[in-house]
């Protein structure tokens, strides 16, 4: 059985390696900085929304089919493939909660002395919200800059809107 087989059912794209190469986090951070420098913050938010609704569309479809169980399966498989992540995933019928104890990206960027884009942690909200919305779900992110809580819930009127000030500035 190839190493990637354990991810095959929950992740939309699979590799022959079980875990990704952490230096690619440099490029993710650099991509955000490039868009911010050339086109500003609104363009960066559009990039995050577009990647969520386009590149990650298969994730939305899976969440639509599988509900909260699909959300939990996705994030368990996702963080198993990210080097250095320490994340607890808990699920109920109403909500999936990620307790990110160690964010693998922030950790790796810091270890290598990379300047982190201040808005970096906001991408988790904007990307995940674009994935969640077509599945009838929404996400709220609290914390950041190395550890955070992410709650995936059914999209109802009584969920308060995301306050971006609840997401820490990365450094």
């Amino acid at each position: 059985m190839p190493p990637a087989a354990s991810h095959a059912n929950a992740l939309p794209y699979t590799d022959t390696k079980p875990v990704g190469h952490a230096d690619f986090y440099f490029a993710v951070n650099a991509t955000f900085r490039f868009i911010l420098r050339h086109h500003g913050e609104e363009a960066l938010r559009k990039y995050w929304r577009d990647i969520g609704s386009s590149y990650y569309k298969p994730v939305s479809e899976r969440w639509m089919q599988r509900g909260m169980a699909g959300v939990a399966e996705y994030w368990r498989a996702f963080f198993a493939a990210e080097p250095g992540a320490t994340v607890e995933v808990t699920e109920s019928a109403e909500e999936v909660r990620l307790e990110v104890k160690t964010c693998p990206v922030i950790r790796h960027l810091r270890e290598h002395g990379r300047e982190i884009v201040p808005q970096f942690c906001q991408h988790c909200y904007f990307v995940s919200e674009a994935i969640a919305e077509p599945a009838g779900m929404t996400v709220r992110v609290c914390g950041g800059n190395g550890s955070c809580t992410q709650r995936f819930m059914k999209r109802t009127a009584n969920v308060p809107t995301q306050n971006l000030e609840d997401i820490a500035t990365a450094s």
């Binding site: 190469h21 650099a30 490039f34 050339h38 990647i51 991408h123 990307v127």
Partner: protein
């Protein structure tokens, strides 16, 4: 979160997103500024400081970590890579991902400006199927690219039976280049 496990997938997707936003020039600027000068700053400093020795230090661990099947051939005058299974292009092919017109251009897009700054030129070909070869020489060295098999022997990717087989388009060819647009097609 945007992760590193499927990095090549969203990286390739990003090229097309940038092209639609700002055209080809924005994609070129992205490869140079974001990848060469920012993400791969460690490679740039290593190669600018140590030349061919720096290339050995950079491409040894990096390609191994990425899961590449490749051969390196190094002399005092040339650094050659024969890429038999590009992990990056391989990921895209196996997952059926193709948004941008030529993903393979990104390598020359960031390595080209890096080599120019370090005083090197590049001979290179890629076949869009996960195989390519590279020869880096100092700019003052007027030697042409090696003939197939002459430098890397049986490891030369050009000797593969599938190097040119069943290609819909053509092989992209660069001579003493440092710019992603300095290519010609070889049928």
């Amino acid at each position: 979160m945007i992760g590193c496990y499927d990095f090549c997938g969203h990286y390739e997707w990003t090229f097309e997103w940038l092209r639609q936003l700002g055209g080809h020039e924005l994609v070129r600027a992205y490869w140079d500024e974001a990848i060469h000068q920012d993400s791969q700053l460690h490679a740039s400093e290593l190669i600018a400081g140590k030349g061919i020795k720096g290339m050995k230090e950079y491409w040894g661990p990096t390609l191994a970590d990425e899961g590449a099947v490749y051969e390196r051939t190094v002399t005092d005058d040339v650094f050659r890579i024969d890429m038999h299974e590009c992990p990056s292009k391989g990921f895209l092919i196996s997952n059926g991902l193709e948004q941008y017109r030529d993903y393979c251009d990104h390598c020359m897009g960031w390595i080209g400006p890096l080599m120019k700054k370090a005083g090197f030129v590049i001979d290179h070909e890629h076949n869009h199927c996960g195989q390519c070869w590279w020869e880096m020489r100092r700019k003052a060295d007027a030697s042409p690219a090696s003939a197939p098999g002459a430098l890397s022997g049986k490891s030369d990717v050009r000797l593969r039976s599938d190097w040119k087989a069943d290609l819909v388009g053509s092989i992209d060819h660069y001579e003493r280049a440092t710019d992603p647009d300095d290519k010609t097609a070889v049928s």
